[in-house]
């Protein structure tokens, strides 16, 4: 969704971003600012209505909201909106946020949109969990909840003529950013993860702070206000799953690379759960940093024991009884020659349901492993 200063332009679709945003779609989105959103799509075309950003017309012009997170008090806030006489067209708590922002702020000034004030009022109503991008006629707001539960980063889009800039992955950390005629900054970007900056020529600038409201205009970005925690003694509660599961390994949070965190988990595991074995290996591929960490700490060689068939999970075919019996064998191929008769420490990072580790160990044993396990897991 883009904004050319006069109108909002929008394109939504179901499927991978590459599929939804083809060349003709990009061309149909003019403007000098824009926001976007991806989510795990569920089946059924009727679900398109749940696609974000949510965009509404308000008495102060159009506004669009992209939301990452889940509100802890979603039910109460939903009731509040319905009691105001506003009908909600989806079950999404992101729509609730959008309508809360639309309603005139109770203690705001009557004239003018005063979006910072509205956002501030909305943040009084709910403390957890949201990172938001909010586009109005004039600017974009980047907002992070007071707990800092979900990540939100600011990046600097640079002229590619000045290649030395590219090397500074971290860039300078600035409180407020500017765009002036004489420097190499082309614009500012806000994203949940910093890994994306790199791939279109931007560098990480800083994270939006817990509770912070940042305003981005054509002139740069500015910190407007910080909402502190109701209980100021509570520590920031950054979502642990970003480190161990969600985020891409080359993303940076709180000054550290996700990959490094995962590797240190593996090292710690080696300290807490040492095992005698000939090999350390990974369930590809998110557990690889942890397995390499385990290997580094113990000195046991790192060897690959499984290949992953990337297409299995995407099949449209209901597995037959026969295929169901095969289970993980459909997804992972054993590299038998690599581990025949050897004792293997197998590191995995998926404790979510915990129902694949057993079958994988059985698969490796059938394929010739001497001993596998004990069942280790980096977040156990």
């Amino acid at each position: 969704m883009t904004n050319d200063g006069k109108r909002f332009h929008q394109h939504k679709g179901m499927g991978l971003v590459n599929y939804v945003f083809q060349e003709q779609h990009i061309k149909s989105l003019p403007g000098h600012m824009g926001i976007g959103h991806t989510r795990y799509s569920t089946a059924g075309s009727s679900e398109l209505v749940n696609c974000q950003p949510f965009v509404v017309d308000t008495i102060h012009g159009h506004m669009a909201v992209g939301h990452n997170g889940e509100l802890v008090n979603a039910k109460a806030l939903r009731k509040k909106v319905l009691l105001q006489g506003t009908g909600l067209s989806t079950g999404s708590d992101s729509e609730v946020i959008t309508q809360l922002l639309t309603a005139t702020p109770p203690c705001g000034e009557p004239d003018g949109p005063n979006w910072t004030g509205r956002i501030y009022e909305m943040m009084q109503l709910t403390q957890l969990a949201y990172s938001l991008v909010i586009m109005t006629q004039d600017c974009i707001y980047a907002v992070r909840d007071p707990h800092g539960n979900r990540p939100l980063c600011i990046g600097r889009l640079m002229s590619l003529n000045e290649s030395p800039q590219l090397s500074r992955l971290g860039g300078e950390i600035v409180e407020n950013g500017e765009i002036s005629d004489d420097d190499s900054t082309l614009g500012w970007i806000v994203s949940s993860e910093s890994c994306g900056f790199h791939s279109f020529g931007a560098s990480m600038c800083r994270e939006v702070k817990p509770g912070e409201i940042v305003k981005l205009t054509t002139n740069g970005f500015k910190s407007m206000r910080i909402v502190s925690l109701e209980n100021p003694e509570k520590p920031p509660s950054f979502c642990i799953f970003e480190y161990v599961y969600f985020a891409r390994p080359d993303s940076m949070f709180e000054g550290q690379m996700v990959y490094s965190v995962r590797q240190r988990c593996g090292e710690q595991l080696a300290i807490e759960a040492p095992v005698e074995a000939e090999l350390v290996s990974t369930v590809p591929e998110s557990a690889t940093p942890a397995a390499l960490g385990y290997s580094l700490r113990t000195g046991i060689p790192y060897v690959e024991v499984l290949t992953k068939n990337r297409y299995v999970g995407r099949t449209f075919i209901q597995p037959s009884n026969r295929l169901r019996k095969l289970g993980v064998a459909r997804k992972f191929g054993p590299l038998s020659m690599n581990f025949k008769g050897k004792r293997v420490v197998l590191v995995d990072d998926s404790i979510v349901r915990g129902n694949t580790m057993g079958p994988i160990i059985k698969l490796l044993k059938q394929a010739g492993a001497g001993e596998v396990g004990p069942k280790l897991n980096i977040v156990s």
Copy 2:
């Protein structure tokens, strides 16, 4: 959109009804009541959000609205909704109606949904033009604006075992309908046009009256209230285009068949604009009843002079300069042998833009007609 008493089930799409509602879609719509809507779709997938029925969650449960018409005071009502603090997600005045119905009625009782009261209040705010079907958790409301501008009919769905019923096209006209165990009535239907009743075994019962609120439940239908015109001396103003353009010829409005009205227009034209000619003919195919009426009144034989290529209008190809020059010749084929050297009275009913009659007359003259015209038009 259907309602099984607990949940609403919805399917929407772009394209012809036959294409959008295929077998699997129908099967995914359980329930004992339902509403639907068709509109001229405009290009672009993003327009799907404008598809009706609009459905919202309210403090009194889900509600869905299908709207035929255009509000004369749409702009003012839109502003009213926005000032209440409700963000609107489309530019449609049907969404405005939906949110007006959602907001608690100003002078309503505080407890209970009282939908009839809400609808009544909404009707105080706008008198023109709408026919509505409104589905709530328990029932469906059929509403027609006080001017009766758009049509709305009630039909009776009958058991097909009692074929004599089928013959009574008009059925009995009843004020309120019931469904009891011992009769042949399977349910009640509301539709803009009565022509559709016939094709699934229903018969016309009566029209919803101007300003009337009718409630349909599993027990039957009941007239709840009638909102009278602000200015009671104004006559009902049924949209003339329904008779001359929109409606299917086998529909019934105000006790008369649309086809008959069109034929009488042709007869009247013969009285007001008599012409000496050897043939009367039609621009196929909506003008045929009028042409037959003209022939009937004057005794001049009715002869077909044009065939219509039904596919031309639907082409996806930008016409080249050459094809543009050909104009109506792409759409109509002259049956030259039928009118060579003859004087032709050609009756058309499309005064909307009035830019095809000239070229059609030229086409017929080139193809051999002795004299065509004068340019006659049933609503001139």
Copy 3:
């Protein structure tokens, strides 16, 4: 499929011509000559391989074949091709024709393609039924079987600056056509039906004669050879279904307009089967010329009694038991007011399966007709 003198360019698809040939497809088909084909498509994407034109590479360059008709000795010819050691990829007799044309002519000259000779040899092998367009590197051949069973017409594409030309529907009938610099002829067209010429600014020139091989090049067209019937006493056997069912009413065959033939059928019916009645009517819409012919001959007024729902046949939904019971009532709407209590002569032209006439008469009687029938049919 087009030919730019060097390469063939092709686009095929399933669906209506308007859908398959969108603007980008037309643009991807450069060249100064081309052939195309439409057929009733059957369900299933795998059927795309059956789409014509069939195009093959031969020892004398590419060749493409479009075929209208069915070979009476298809089975024997298929066996002949298979025995030559050629594998056939479809069950179509059009592919058999294509491979027969590819095989070197048994008594032909050894050097050079000599396509006229090959076509002549192929025509010795089968006398019925085919109209063909055959495109080679240099030219297009238009071929009609010796019986003249299927139609094939030659049209002249004219400059639109000379509008008087447009009026001459028949144009001059010429044996061989030329394109010279000083006249208004832009090219020559071959088509099964002449009705299409009109809609892109061409005029009918003449029919390809039974057994004739016509060659079209950039210089014009030329009659190359005529294959006479094995039994020369047999009369030409033009397919009667073209007149009564397949062709568009504004097409011309053997000097007469299809519409006029149908109307004369109705007149003849009036002579052979006179009935006392108040109204003559049609089962819309192909039977209308016959009904008007019946009315013309008997003086009984022509009145419309049925509207046709054009969308019913195209539904993707399996009709439920209830809808099956309704039968023709789903497709035709009775205009009851037009015939209540009257005796109706109803003319239909579909004797193909003959199973709709009975239900339609029942439908009209239920809707109030005094007497309908006797069951009349123009080809009975």
Copy 4:
């Protein structure tokens, strides 16, 4: 494409196998034997005609051919087929093979299909490069060219009730296979790569030998004949790209695992091109076995320095100038913290065009690497 003993059933499509073969397609393919084919698809729907298997009707019934490879004398064989009078509908040399098999074998017996004989004759005409599966009415033939250029393996489909079987990855190597009532063999499978066997419960049996014709029926498989090389002193010439690029690492060729071959390449590289460095790393992910081999031989620790964005290559959007400048940075993310200031040996396996290694090294240097290279490549 399947065969139920009476008819062939076929489904083809463009796209990933998972997309083309959805559940309804699988259900529409009954039978007790079948063959399939995948190829890199090129853009444009008209290319569907090139999809294999090629299926033709012959004088001895239907035959379908799947072909992996490219004929060295394709041009001469194509001319041979065209001179026989057979038109070819594609430019594919797989269609040429199909028509060569169709033509009656020159020195074959006149009666009966004798497919083994036909295949043998065809193999006399071309020695390189093809692996074929050929399905006839009764059986499937698996054929490998006399040079053994492309791989072809036979696998045994086992009952899943006997889990001990699953562990024997290699199974027993048998010359001819049988299916009897009292054992656990459900059927036999032929595939280019053995990696697929594992994932639906089959085990590798043996490779089809260079020049061998193997016949598979419902009773088992049987070696029919072996065509020896024209020049018997030439060694078998297995395609080296299968080991270093095409094949999945868990596939087995000539008794060795592809992964192991790649790892040994890395070890050999360490011997031939030793470098002083702090880290060995990979360009993910096909070069990983070689990098681990290099690390194993030299003792230099293996560390990951790049993440791969799996979606970049699949975008439908033409890269803008800006994105083009970014080049490999769009596809690979540097894990800077892992290698800042360190000297890195980077192992890659893609010498195909050789134009990505330079930019990747530049990318790593900009991201902080002390020294990268020299540019090493496992097949250099």
